[in-house]
Amino acid sequence: MAFTEKLSVFLTIVLIATYGLGLLFTLRTHREFFGAAESHREGDAAPWPISLALGILGDVTVLVALVSEVFVASVQDATHALGMSQAFVGFIVVALVGCGAEMASAFSGARKNRLDLSVGIALGSATQIALFVALVLVLASYSLGPQPMTLQFWPGAVLMVLLATVTAPNIQRRSLSLVYWRPGPCGLPDLRHHALPASSPRALRRATTASRLNESLRHRGRMRKGGSMSNMDKEKRQRVLDPVSRISEIIFGVLMALSFTGSLNAATSGREEVRTVMLTALGCNLAWGLVDAVMYLVATLTGRARNQMLLRMVRSASDPQSAHAGIAEALPGRMGEEMGAEGLEDIRQHLLALPDTPARVRFGQDDFLGALGVFLLVVLSTFPVVVPFMFISKMALAMRASNAVALVLLFIGGYRIGHYAGGVAWRAGLAMAAVGGVLVSIIMALGG
């Protein structure tokens, strides 16, 4: 134990130093890279004069200390009476109370389209807790607490924090990629999605793009008139989700479930723990399925609004040149340049010939079907990984079986994506399986 304590203190000092260096980096030496986040910093409220602010800072800190004494004194009996565990109070209540004010300013920033501010607050505050507050607490426990506190967390907390920190940067990437890569099923096609091979002749490219535009615009017009869309319906529904998003939702679900089952320890875990982990994995995938479905809807709406913006821009443009520039920008990669003026003009004519579109973009039935599909794919992909634990009573064997199933699923997913992308399919499959293997070994090494 003595060694663990020493390690804790050592890590603490290293991390605080990292935090300090990070501050130096952002505030001093490389300030120009991080300008945007800081320049928005002034809130919408008028700042107080410095003496008042300093006075409030001091007084309120003392008051908070007083109130938190009362809070801590009452927490034991109160949690008992309310039937909550201490961990719940700390995890949910204290965290929400402490972040409440920040959350309010992050949300108001987000509503005013100052996402920079929100992202800065959210990630900055999380970083600060992990790199600064937690460590100050460890050091303080040596003089304040009855015994030194180490930073050992229980496995549930380890998993949650790990998932949070792994997904936080991912959400950013995913949300951006969602905007660009999800096809709009019954709106205008997402032009970026239909990237064509660069080697195909220009005429073909032009014809294909134009016909795609045409087809889906026709469909749109029909929907708007409220006419029957039954014959279109069937073929549309088949492509509500394209293969890549379908497969990647499955892979996502499998990896998620894998990260939970991987944290089981083959030698020491009892049935009870296995049950809990299984339920946690399922619950987590349920939650993520929901999040993904909502993000899908948001992205669909976003893409459609962008397309409408393009349409409106093309119509209201004073001269063809500026309309061409807008269309070229919406096309993937260098396609706009390569199509040349006559190709762009072709598209412009198509857009101009369209019936009027409604001013507001809204969701159709297919969008909800797509969202439902996303949700089900993420949730259902938990089961293959979890089922071996239900039917094989030998822990070690069940674990190997579950891992094997997961690896096979990942391989198939990678194979399909590779096939779809026109690359070497089995190589993509192997790469995907390898990612799964690496993930499992990292989780095992982190000690579930």
Binding site: M1, L52, T61, M160
Partner: protein, 167 residues
């Protein structure tokens, strides 16, 4: 003082300040059950957190960029720090640890996700400085790994994802 009153009128969170005297009276008279005190103290801390964050911002804007950034970076989570220090003195280590883990998860998932959603519902194209977001996400990941390292010979924590009531 006028400024303070203005702020209270503007920010509805600050109306919760009413609970502070109520809590102090209840505590002084020893009239309430622990449950009542618990709820009252939570309600009293919320407006304090808002006041503290506004005060920090004000000091930060009045000083130079570097000093302001430093202040924001150290005092931004003052409320949580003070609560955790009180819990630390009482030896409630489970509460402290849970609040650390909870704050990281709440900030990096709930706050970030809800911000994206809110912003995405109203504005279709959103921009943010990805350099600072990347740096912070990287630091966060590093810290998490370091916080979570457990040497294999260290004593095992009580098994099961949730600990028993006392640890």
């Amino acid at each position: 003082m006028n400024l303070l009153l203005n702020e209270i009128r503007r920010n509805s969170l600050l109306r919760l300040l009413l609970f502070v005297p109520v809590m102090l009276v209840v505590e002084h008279l020893e009239a309430g059950t622990p449950t009542l005190l618990f709820v009252l103290s939570i309600l009293a801390i919320v407006p304090f957190a808002a006041l503290l964050s506004h005060a920090t911002e004000s000091v930060a804007t009045k000083t130079s960029d570097a000093v302001g950034g430093l202040l924001n970076a150290t005092l931004g989570n003052l409320t949580e720090l003070v609560i955790a220090l009180a819990a630390l003195r009482a030896g409630e280590y489970m509460l402290v640890k849970a609040s650390i883990a909870g704050a990281i998860v709440t900030n990096s998932l709930f706050m970030l996700g809800a911000s994206f959603l809110l912003s995405g519902l109203r504005h279709h194209t959103q921009e943010f400085n990805s350099a600072s977001a990347r740096l912070q996400a990287g630091q966060l990941f590093l810290a998490t790994i370091a916080l979570l390292i457990r040497p294999p010979w260290a004593q095992r924590m009580p098994s099961g994802p949730w600990p028993s009531l006392r640890s």
